[in-house]
Every structure is written in structure tokens, then in C-alpha cells.
Symmetry: C2
Subunit: 572 residues, 2 copies
């Protein structure tokens, strides 16, 4: 199946006119989120008009020690800053809005989104003191926004955060539909279902390109409606004789609404723990996305005035984040203390890479005496991403000429490709893109043009400076072997070794084990340096190299370990 790589299938694209591709066309350029999950960002360019869709971050795994965030490389946008007509956000998740502060530091452009999305974006920009960098505009599904020669039309869809939209992108050469993240929920908590009819109408108008979510393309069937979780909450809140603690993603406002409704229905007062949970509830309520009576909420301090049977607690920490409320609770180092009889509901699914931390939290809670429910035991969570039947529905409704499987790893793109090929979709019209690829479309043909600079930028510390690969290599080496510093003082004029070399270590071996070892190493260094001096010239450079090599070789031979050996030569 040649459909799997962008290049072969684009070389084999349907025969168009023999002349060079028309100058009238648009380019779709993923800058993040192609063949990966996270840091979503796509540029769509028509002539001198560029619109940016989403500006997401992703979070690093253990292979990137000390890195806080990963953001897309903005080089292409900065180079073409004068063309950027607007930044359009599909929804308020971090992997779609988290890079906005970093982007707006580099260029200014109006930002568009639904009220909740803009509400969350405003909070991020406020934290970075960047509120004056760009006007923030709220749009409603169905409302068209003109950005140069491109018109954007948000379409109401359902996802694990309210105010999520797909985008119909009306360009001079044809219509692009970008699903963004979605599921097809006909009974959502806020009564605002997936707008299937609008997708069908767009299909009638003719869709040149569908850019489709693929996160759950490996999963058969349909994702259950979000409202199913409320019924499961009902059961656990009813069964529990003690307090119920629920943890979920702080952005899952529908889930939070269901928590609050269930608590109210069962006569339990609600306690909210965790900074981001408290902040998001405030923002969502102010904007009308969350409704509850004032008297439902009580503070942690007030909790002791009620019997455990009358308490429900909502906390952050569904991903086992070490500083989160739930993680602290599980280590018994939070004001909320677990007692036998407490029920904990993990209303979430592990984000890949977080499994260890989550299970450690669960195990600690069980040891403290809690009864813990998680998705292996009880349907306490549903996904926000479409399964196969929903993905097929959107393809059937929109009937596009081309499709780009987006926002998934290659394995999900493979599953999507197999699925739509089985539906009869022409494999040559399934386009696999990498970040930086310029997909050129004129309404008939598709072509891959020379890519733009792209990549990931690793953000570390408050300085928000980028972390280089060399630095990361050193960190990984330091992590596995520790460091050994060997300091040599040489006489500035004679090159003689003054005093014994000093050797100290961190993260290498226990000090008890190193004493004799380092003495031996120091003697070898002195010998090697004396040889170097008598053999001709000694300077700080070759002395450093010799000291380093001598110590490295000796330690490897004697301990089997390879610390990072740092030589320091002082000439005095």
C-alpha cells in the first residue's frame, strides 16, 4: 500500500493537467501534531495570507530530563510574520493553546476561539504578562471570520472540554475541513451535541481536504457519551458509606459538572482541591459553562463539620503529578487525609508515560485504606476522541477529495489508513504529512513542496531558553553515571604538578567506596602528567585531556562504570 508514505503516493497522484501546477492554490503546513500526539499547530497559507490553527505544547518523557515543555519551532511563522492574519484555536486544551504565550512573544496577531477557549488562553497570557500582545476575539459556531483571503467557520463538535470546534476553512481554491479533536456525542452534558448536519452540508458544497483526528483510530466502535459517566458517579456516590474523592483532568468541565450535580443529588457537600481545578472552575463558571448553587461548595476546613457520608472531594492529580493534591494526599502530606472507608474514583485515563506515577498513587491510596476505582474496574471515564465508527461517519458526511490523518502517531495513521481504505477511499488520496511538509492544493491536485524549517523546541526553566541536544546528551550521561571532577594545579612556568590532584564526585559511588579509588586515580594522573611534561610540552589543554582519559579508563576498569569525567586545570 503506497498510501503510507506521503512521498510515494504524491508522486503517484491522480493525473492532472500536464503543465506546472497552477499558481492559484493553498498550502497546508503542519508545524506540530503531524505523525505525533501533542503540540498541535497548522499553518494554512493562501498567497500572502497565513492563518495559524492552534499553538500547543506537549510534555516531555523521561528521555528529556529537566525539560519542562516542548513547543513547535516557530521559525516559518516568524519569517512570515507580516502574513499572519490570525491565530484560530479549536479548544482550550494545553496541547492546542499552551504554546500561545511563546508564540505571541515572537509575533502579534489576533486570536480567535470560543468563549471558554479564549477564557483559558487569557489566563495563560496573563500568567506570562502578555495580555497586551494581541487582541482576543470570541466567536460562536456558525459565525464566519474573514482573515485575508481565507474564511474560517467554526463548527460545533463534542470533546472532553466544552466550546470545542472543528473548522471549515474556506479558501479561494476550495474547502478544507479540519476536525481538530472531537468525538460524536449526541447526548453531551451541556445539551450541545456534535453538529453532524453542518458536516453533511459542507460535504454537499464539496470538501477538497479533510484533516482528521486519528488518536483513537485503532479502537473499534463508538466512544460512549460523556453523560454515561454521571450514572457511574451516581452508583459510587450511592454505594460509599464514607467520603468520595474524584480526580479528573482540571479542564474537563463536563466531568466537573457531573461531579457537582452528583454530589448535590446525593446531599454531599463538595470540596475542591488543587490550584488548576479551582482556577478552571472559576473561569468556567464566570463564562456560564458551569452551574452550581453557591452553598454546594465548602472549604477543606469546613469539611470536618460534616459526616464523611455527606462529603465529596474533587482533586487534581489524575496523572499522578507529584505536586498535585491527590499525589500529596496519597503520601499523607496534605490537609485532606485518607481514612479507611474513603472511596477514590480515578475518572481519567493515563496519558502515555504517566502509568508508573499513577499506579504508585493508586497503590499508596489503597495502603492508606481507600477503596480505589479506576477504568480497569469500573467505567469511570470515557475518551474525548472519536473511535473508528465516528471517524468513518465524518469521512462519509464530508466526502473529501483528499484526507490527511492528523494528531496521531504512525501506528494510528496506519489504522486510519486501513479503515478508510476498507471504506473504499482511494489510498492515493490519503496523504501522510510530517511536520514542516508543505501540502499544496489547487482544488484538483495535491503536491508536496520543499518543507519549511520545523522541529521541536525544548523549554527549560523560567528563562524559557531552548535546550540543545548536546546538553541533553550530557544530562542523560550524568543521570546514568554521575560525575567525577579531577582538578590539577600546574606551575604556570614549569608545568610541574603542584600538590596532589583533587578528585570529587556526585552521583557516582558512595563516598565510602571512592576514597581509596580516588587516591589511586590521583597517583596515576600525576604519573601521566609527569610523562607528558618530560615528553615535551604540557599545557592546560593536553593536561586536561590526559587527566580525563586517565581517570575515565581507570574507573571503567575498576568499577565498570562510566561517569562524566570533568577535568579542571589551574595554572598558578
Amino acid at each position: 500500500m503506497t498510501a503510507k508514505k506521503a512521498e510515494p503516493q504524491l508522486h503517484a497522484r491522480p493525473a492532472g493537467p500536464a503543465e506546472a501546477p497552477s499558481a492559484h492554490g493553498v498550502e497546508v503546513i503542519p508545524l506540530g501534531g503531524a505523525a505525533e500526539i501533542g503540540k498541535n499547530m497548522i499553518a494554512v497559507r493562501s498567497g500572502d495570507d497565513i492563518i495559524v490553527i492552534d499553538a500547543g505544547v506537549t510534555f516531555p518523557g523521561a528521555d528529556l530530563p529537566g525539560v519542562d515543555l516542548i513547543i513547535p519551532d516557530f521559525a516559518y511563522l516568524i519569517e512570515n510574520a507580516a502574513c499572519v492574519r490570525g491565530i484560530v484555536l479549536t479548544h482550550g486544551h494545553e496541547d492546542h493553546i499552551g504554546a500561545l504565550p511563546f508564540l505571541l512573544k515572537r509575533l502579534s496577531a489576533p486570536v480567535y476561539g470560543t468563549a471558554l477557549t479564549i477564557g483559558f488562553a487569557r489566563e495563560r497570557l496573563d500568567e506570562h504578562d502578555l495580555l497586551d500582545r494581541a487582541p482576543l476575539h470570541v466567536f460562536e459556531p456558525g459565525q464566519r471570520i474573514t482573515l485575508g483571503s481565507i474564511e474560517i467557520e467554526p463548527i460545533r463538535v463534542t470533546h472532553s472540554i466544552p466550546g470545542t470546534v472543528s473548522l471549515a476553512i474556506h479558501t479561494p481554491v476550495g474547502l478544507i475541513v479540519h476536525t481538530g479533536d472531537f468525538k460524536v456525542d449526541h447526548t453531551p452534558v451541556d445539551g450541545k451535541p456534535f453538529d453532524a448536519a453542518r458536516f453533511a452540508q459542507l460535504g454537499d458544497e464539496g470538501v477538497m481536504l479533510l484533516i482528521s483526528d486519528t488518536v483513537n483510530a485503532e479502537k473499534k466502535g463508538w466512544v460512549p457519551s460523556e453523560s454515561v459517566v454521571g450514572k457511574v458517579f451516581d452508583q459510587h456516590f450511592g454505594d460509599a458509606d464514607g467520603r468520595v474523592l474524584v480526580t479528573t483532568f482540571a479542564s474537563n468541565i463536563h466531568r466537573i459538572q457531573q461531579f457537582l450535580d452528583t454530589a448535590d443529588r446525593h446531599g454531599r457537600k463538595a470540596v475542591i482541591a488543587g490550584r488548576s481545578m479551582i482556577r478552571n472552575i472559576r473561569v468556567a463558571r464566570e463564562l456560564g459553562y458551569l452551574k452550581y448553587p453557591d452553598e454546594l461548595l465548602i472549604t477543606v476546613e469546613e469539611m470536618d463539620e460534616y459526616p464523611p457520608r455527606d462529603i465529596a472531594i474533587l482533586t487534581t492529580g489524575s496523572q499522578g503529578e507529584p505536586l498535585s493534591a491527590l499525589s500529596q494526599i496519597s503520601r499523607d502530606s496534605h490537609r485532606i487525609r485518607i481514612r479507611p472507608g474513603d472511596t477514590v474514583v480515578m475518572s481519567s485515563t493515563p496519558i502515555p508515560g504517566n502509568e508508573d506515577a499513577i499506579w504508585r498513587t493508586v497503590n499508596r491510596l489503597i495502603r492508606l485504606g481507600a477503596r480505589v476505582f479506576y477504568d480497569l474496574l469500573s467505567p469511570v471515564h470515557v475518551s474525548g476522541h472519536a473511535n473508528q465508527e465516528e471517524l468513518k461517519l465524518v469521512l462519509s458526511l464530508t466526502r473529501p477529495l483528499y484526507v490527511v490523518p492528523f494528531h496521531g502517531e504512525p501506528r494510528m495513521m496506519q489504522a486510519y489508513t486501513d479503515m478508510v481504505t476498507a471504506m473504499g477511499f482511494d489510498p492515493d488520496r490519503i496523504l501522510w504529512l510530517d511536520n514542516g511538509d508543505r501540502l499544496w492544493l489547487d482544488g484538483v491536485d495535491a503536491e508536496l513542496r520543499a518543507p519549511v524549517p520545523t522541529g521541536r523546541v525544548l523549554v527549560d526553566g523560567i528563562s524559557a531558553g531552548a535546550v540543545s541536544d548536546a546538553v541533553l546528551r550530557d544530562r542523560r550521561h550524568l543521570a546514568t553515571g554521575g560525575t567525577v571532577v579531577v582538578t590539577v594545579a600546574l606551575d604556570e612556568s614549569t608545568g610541574e604538578v603542584l600538590d596532589d590532584p583533587q578528585i570529587v564526585s556526585r552521583g557516582f559511588l558512595h563516598p565510602e567506596e571512592t576514597d581509596g579509588l580516588f587516591e589511586e586515580a590521583a597517583e596515576l594522573v600525576v604519573q601521566a602528567l609527569e610523562e607528558l611534561r618530560s615528553g615535551g610540552g604540557i599545557d592546560d589543554e593536553n593536561a586536561g585531556t590526559v587527566a580525563k582519559d586517565t581517570v575515565s579508563r581507570f574507573l571503567r576498569r575498576r568499577t565498570g562504570r562510566r561517569p562524566v569525567v570533568v577535568p579542571v586545570v589551574m595554572e598558578v
Copy 2:
């Protein structure tokens, strides 16, 4: 439910005679594998006779950088070495035999196991040059071994490696049944099914304690038979127009047999890649556990003489191990090179923590043009551990007085406890143990006695020395922040700062970014040291502390980062 913690339920143990517990009793002491997965080891003591069951290792996660293996703490066994009558191995997996070389370095005792288990143990001991340390004895299921006052009887069970046994441990005060790892397979590949009848007979005799596998206690129903996988192989081998690559655990001899049989059935020659796969196939075939015609196997070099349709490849790397054959193949750096049309079958399940590495391998293989099948897409793997219905069956057959949920994390112990409680088993007789706990049994009562020293020993490098917590803390800090070394030369007599301090770093910031920064820091260090000198006494100790604090504070303020700052003071 007080059953969840060992202490409360043991305090509330069924009322026995009022006098002190009888001196006639046995102790069950988990030294690894209690409330955790991995490094299985249990001591059973009757008077002065100790038997050791299994000696397993486990592999560290990302939180233990530079650690190669985790083994149990042998302190209790070493202290009581004279009492150790034998080491009994239930099967040949690393988490049951991998610590044997480390244990036999510290004490000598005869080792017992089935032929394959002893075969694999012999290989491990040979690698460590320890074959002369202990006699290795092969036993057969049903054959009783007398070890002092304890008699051991292996019972044939099924698992993901042949030659697996449960143990009936006949002690002077009663019978203990230790399931070890098992599933209930009535149609195993080697025609040697789970011996349900023997469990029932032991139940008739009266079982004082059942120590039960709990790894899959969260999972409902029954695990399908291993032979199911052969049918799935058949389908993929038949469907594939090109080569088929299968990866699985190198110890899964049944799976390997099914691979070889399927290749033979489909007229495909078999190629074996990966050192451990080749070694295990050799050992298993020599011992009669694996059967195939000589002409089935060809070498990688011979492969090109056959059309792709006639080739099947078996490789290591099912866990994404970076040095494995499959990982190299996925990076296109192996003699076996993926071509479009190849089918890869991941006949395994991720061991927790390996998910990232595995999916990276899968994604690379897809990008190279392979069609990849894994358990989300096709039933290409079955577990070797019993699901709930199988666990219930063993409890029903043995009808024990007490049960210890073993070889699972607390969440699995919780699931097991709920399950058997729902069967009507008295929750007060479900005993949760931690490693080191001494469970004393006299045939009627159970009591928890003061624990023995226990824990995990982290093995690092060929020296097999232990890694201390302080060293690990430093390594984690080094991994996230890198290191900055500040070297100061002081005049031995006056304490004056000679020359400028030298500051170098590794894994901190890119050198371009540090130049100006380190100059400023060096000036601050000189100032601080001069103040120290003029303020009274300066010595190498306080000078080091001042240099370190000055640099740490400055870098934190200017960059937001916290490297490990190492001060070196030279007095010359």
C-alpha cells in the same frame, strides 16, 4: 474491610487458644515479590530448616538512572546461611531466577527445578563463572524432595514458559501451596496441561495456606489458551505476501514452537535474530522442550536466496529494548532490512514502563513500510497469568485456611481480596504481607512477627556494587539540571584568591549561553571569598561552601535553573 492491611486483620485473627502461640510452627517470609511485581523470593522456615523459593531480579524504571538490576536484600539468608537447605525454583523467568548468581556468591545451597528451569539457571551461573558454587538438581512434577523437616512437591502448571511448577510445601504443622506464576491452560502447546486434580487432592488433605499469583486479579474471565496464538499466526503467515517477522519474549518456548510450526506449515524458512533468542532455542531444544527439523532454520545470509513469501523471521525486541534485533531493524541499522510488504507481528504485551520504547519501535517499522500487528489490532498474544476465574478455581480446589495474595501491587491485592471475599472467603483470613514480614503459622492461627531486614539492592555496572539512595538523588538532580564545577585556588598561607575561579559545566546550558554568565559568577565568587578572608578565617571548607552558594544563587536568579554545583578548592 480490614482485610486490606496485614496488621489490623492479624490483630483481629480468629480467636485461638489464649496461651502464647505454640513453638511448633513455620514462618513464611517474603524477601521479594510481596506487594510488588518482580524479584520473587520467599523463605519458608521450620525450626532450623530454611528453604528459599525463587531468586528473582526486576528491572529499574526511569526513576533509577544507571541502575541495571534490582535484587532482593539477602541479609536474612546470609545471617542464617547455615540453615538454608535448598533453593527451589518454580520456573525459568528472570524475575524468578535472575538473582541466583548474586545469591550463590553469598551462600551455597543445592538448587532444584525442572529441566528447563535448571537449564536456564545453568546458563546464568555459567556467565558469572559460578557453576561450582552449588549442585543443580532436576526434579519432575510429583517428585517429592526432602529438605530438612520440609518436603517440597512440584505440581505441573501452565505459564508462558515450559517446565513451570506450583509448589506443595509439606511442613510439620501443615501444608502450604504456593502457586507461583500460573494460568489454567487445558490445551497447552506441549500437551502438558494444568494439573487441576492434584490441587483438588491437596485441598482434600487440607491446605493451611495458599500463596496465590495476583498479577491479573483485576481482569475478569479466563485467559485464552496459548494454542490460540498459533491460529492467529496461521492467519498472518497466510495473508502476508512478503516476509513475516515475529517478535516475542525469548523465554516463551511455547510461542517459539508455534512460530516454528507455523513457518513450517506455510513453507517458510525460519531465521532467528537476537542473541538471547538463539541461546534459549539451543538450550530448549537440547533439553527436548523444542522440536523442529534441522532444515527449517536458515541464516540471515541465506535469506536472500528465497523469495520473501518463503521467509519467517523470529527476533528479540518485543519490549523495545534499544540494543535488541528488532529495535536495530526499526532503525534500519541491522542486516535484516525492512522492505514495504513485510509484516511484523508483536506477539507480546508491554511490560509496564516499556510502552514508550515499544511504540517508538512500532512507529519506526511502519515508517519503513511494514504492516505491524499488535494486541490492540489482532489477538497475537495471550497472558501467562491467571485471570479472575482461574484464580477462583485454585482457591476453590485448595480450600485453604489462609490466603496470601502475592506477586502483585496493592491494586491487584485489592482486586484479589474483593474477588475472594465475594466468594465467601473470610476477609480476616486474607493476609497482606510486605517484604520482610514474618508470617507465623501453626496450622490453626496466623501471626505477624517482627520483620526481618529486607529491601531492594540496586545493582549497577559489572562491579555489582549496590547504589545508595544519596547517589541516586544526586543522579536525578544531575539529570534535570546538569552540573557546574567552580574551582578556586587559594594561597596556602595567606588565603588570597590566586587567579580567577574557573567555572565549567556539563548538561547545564549550551556553552554559547554560559560564557558571560560564568564570568559574572566568577567575579561574585572572588568578592565573596575576599569578604570571607577579611571577615576572619578562610579555609578550604568554608571557601567551598561560599563558592558553591554564591554560584547556585546567582545561576538560579539569572536562569531559573538549579544545576548541581560542585566546588573545588585548591590550596597551593
